[in-house]
């Protein structure tokens, strides 16, 4: 009653009434993901439902901050769009938050796997287009001072028909990633993790995302993960075997990092040995993405300007 006096009496269609759940497509720590149809428009959406862990404080600050960021980033065509946020109540009277995202029918992980199964290579121009879109989306996030920190093929959504790529799992949306236990053969987040993170750096920079982009780039070419470690130590050793064990000369400050130890000494190998089939310009871009020293790693914006993309038709991207 009191709320009506502040103009709050307007009726808002509840999430349950507005959408028809078609199927559950995922489940995570905080809630469930459904493919759903918006009744008013017939549009297919991804509905992510999460219970707010309220106490006396109402909407938790973390939720508030992260939804706000998703709303801000949704403007870019290469970030998955958060179309709406609806608050509702479940059967027990608890507050539930529905995040309404545009629906994408596949992700880069499935896309790569489909080529691996058929034994075909992903066409070079397709790789170039996907990589350009990825750099563009990341440049947009970084332009807003936002790091992703968990880039991997699984959270790069794709539309198979248009070959559009969109970054997902930013913030709260990340909570819906399928739990690791369902992929016992793979530790998702380690493979794309930057060496400074593995070595215990606490101050992240945008360069951690660029490292992940580089790993994804190589994987698009070879259809296999570039550095497939099954522990943090193994992950580091995989990296060092290819790029050489870092020292103070190539990476000033590396030996001061918290988790630095003595490691076997490898000399760097040519990237072309690990990523056969990538042309010279592509190898140059990849090498700049996989620079050891974070401050020397190429930025997403500079990557978009690299000559590797010169012959790409960017008009529709």
């Amino acid at each position: 009653m009191e709320m009506e006096k502040t103009g709050a009496g307007v009726a808002v269609l509840s999430a349950k009434e507005a959408f028809e759940k078609l199927e559950k497509v995922g489940e995570g720590t905080y809630g469930k993901v459904y493919r759903a149809r918006e009744k008013a428009t017939g549009k297919i959406v991804a509905l992510k439902k999460t219970r707010l862990h309220e106490d006396q404080e109402g909407v938790p600050p973390t939720t508030l901050r992260e939804v706000s960021i998703l709303r801000m980033l949704s403007r870019d065509p290469h970030v998955v769009r958060l179309m709406d946020v609806k608050q509702g109540q479940n059967k027990e009277g608890k507050t539930v938050l529905y995040l309404v995202f545009e629906y994408m029918d596949t992700d880069l992980k499935k896309f790569i796997r489909s080529f691996r199964q058929t034994g075909q290579s992903i066409p070079p121009q397709t790789i170039k287009s996907l990589m350009y879109q990825l750099c563009k989306g990341i440049a947009f996030c970084h332009g807003h001072g936002i790091l992703h920190r968990d880039l991997k093929p699984h959270n790069l959504l794709m539309d198979r028909k248009t070959m559009m790529l969109k970054i997902a799992d930013l913030g709260l949306a990340r909570a819906f990633t399928v739990p690791i236990k369902k992929y016992t053969h793979e530790i998702l987040t380690l493979w794309y993790r930057a060496p400074e993170v593995l070595l215990g750096a606490t101050h992240y920079s945008m360069a951690v995302d660029i490292w992940s982009v580089g790993c994804i780039f190589a994987e698009l070419v070879t259809k296999q993960a570039l550095f497939a470690g099954d522990s943090e130590l193994q992950q580091l050793l995989h990296i060092f075997r290819l790029l050489g064990t870092p020292n103070e000369e190539v990476w000033p400050g590396v030996s001061k990092l918290k988790d630095w130890h003595e490691y076997p000494q490898w000399n760097p190998k040519s990237l072309s040995t690990a990523v056969p089939g990538l042309d010279e310009l592509g190898l140059d871009l990849l090498s700049q993405m996989l620079e050891y020293e974070p401050s020397k790693r190429i930025s997403a914006k500079k990557a978009m300007e690299h000559a590797y993309f010169n012959d790409l038709d960017k008009g529709h991207l």
Binding site: K5, T6, G58, V59, P61, S68, R75, H144, G145, I146
Partner: protein
């Protein structure tokens, strides 16, 4: 995901102007629409009630970072633009003030005591204590009206970017300039007319105003740097600069006014009070004059962010 909420451009100190078009493109999502100011100008009542709610928010925020009340008042204006006019009921405006304050505190990761908030809100009368659930529902209403775009792009977001254009080498001088501009931005927000301008325009104008006061000999260089920025409309900056100049001048003059002990700018209440001076001989007017003076004093009190917390108990 990691970010500095107040300083999203903080990582770009050494990058050129064209590296950060993003915030300029979307800042309009985070201010009231252009007709908001017009709707206020049509009603003196709405202006005074907005000022009262702004005052309430300032009281709540007086011990916190000044960015907090700025953000809360931004939410207030965007909410009013969406939901329509303020309610005449004091309790409803208090609830709105508390909700905007609470949401801003959450966005800024600021801890506060709900009990202190309630005490502050009831210092003036025996009003109702708001239950936590009531505040939560009001927060939900504000969130819906603002479409959860709570990470407002404020003028503070642009200050590091523009200061970088000025190419001041000395970090201490840069900080002095930033602080001066920030103070101007905070003061300006109290007045409706600044809301007509985009945050980037307000930031540029405030910096130019501060640089004119602090570094007059370098002012022409700063002006040229702002003018050369392709994301800024120079004419609009000039208009905004003039508005800021008027607001700051009004505040300066009010300090000199021997009838006023406040540092607030001249407003409709002050004008009314001054007009009554000329009719002092009328007994009825003397009574009215006294009432207005007391009311203004209460308002002034809320606007003085330096008043220690303990003073509120004396009201």
């Amino acid at each position: 995901m990691d970010f500095d909420l107040e300083n999203p451009l903080g990582n770009f100190h050494d990058l050129p102007c064209d590296a950060v078009p993003s915030l300029f493109l979307i800042e309009s999502d985070h201010i009231p629409p252009p007709n908001y100011c017009q709707s206020f100008k049509a009603s003196d009542f709405d202006i005074s009630v907005r000022r009262d709610v702004v005052s309430l928010i300032s009281q709540l925020s007086c011990t916190f970072d000044p960015v907090l009340p700025y953000l809360a008042i931004n939410y207030l204006d965007r909410f009013l633009a969406h939901q329509g006019i303020l309610q005449p009921k004091p309790w409803a405006n208090k609830l709105l003030a508390i909700s905007c304050f609470s949401l801003a505190a959450k966005m800024l990761k600021t801890e506060y005591s709900a009990t202190d908030v309630q005490v502050l809100m009831n210092h003036g009368d025996g009003g109702a204590i708001f239950e936590a659930q009531t505040i939560q529902r009001m927060e939900g209403i504000v969130l819906g009206a603002l479409q959860w775009r709570m990470r407002s792009i404020t003028p503070f977001s642009f200050i590091p970017f523009f200061v970088n254009l000025f190419r001041l080498k000395d970090p201490a001088l840069r900080q002095v300039l930033k602080d001066g501009a920030s103070e101007i931005i905070l003061k300006s927000q109290r007045e409706i007319k600044v809301l007509e301008f985009k945050p980037s325009t307000v930031a540029a104008s405030a910096l130019l105003y501060a640089s004119h006061e602090l570094f007059p000999f370098q002012y022409p260089c700063f002006l040229r740097a702002i003018s050369d920025c392709s994301y800024i409309n120079k004419e609009t900056v000039v208009q905004c600069y003039n508005v800021i100049h008027d607001i700051t001048r009004e505040e300066y003059e009010s300090v000199l006014n021997i009838n006023s002990t406040s540092d607030t700018p001249v407003n409709v209440l002050d004008e009314h009070f001054l007009s009554l001076e000329s009719e002092k001989t009328n007994g009825t007017n003397v009574v009215t004059q006294e009432q207005d003076f007391k009311r203004r004093k209460t308002t002034d009190y809320g606007n003085n962010r330096t008043v220690p917390f303990s003073h509120f108990h004396q009201c």
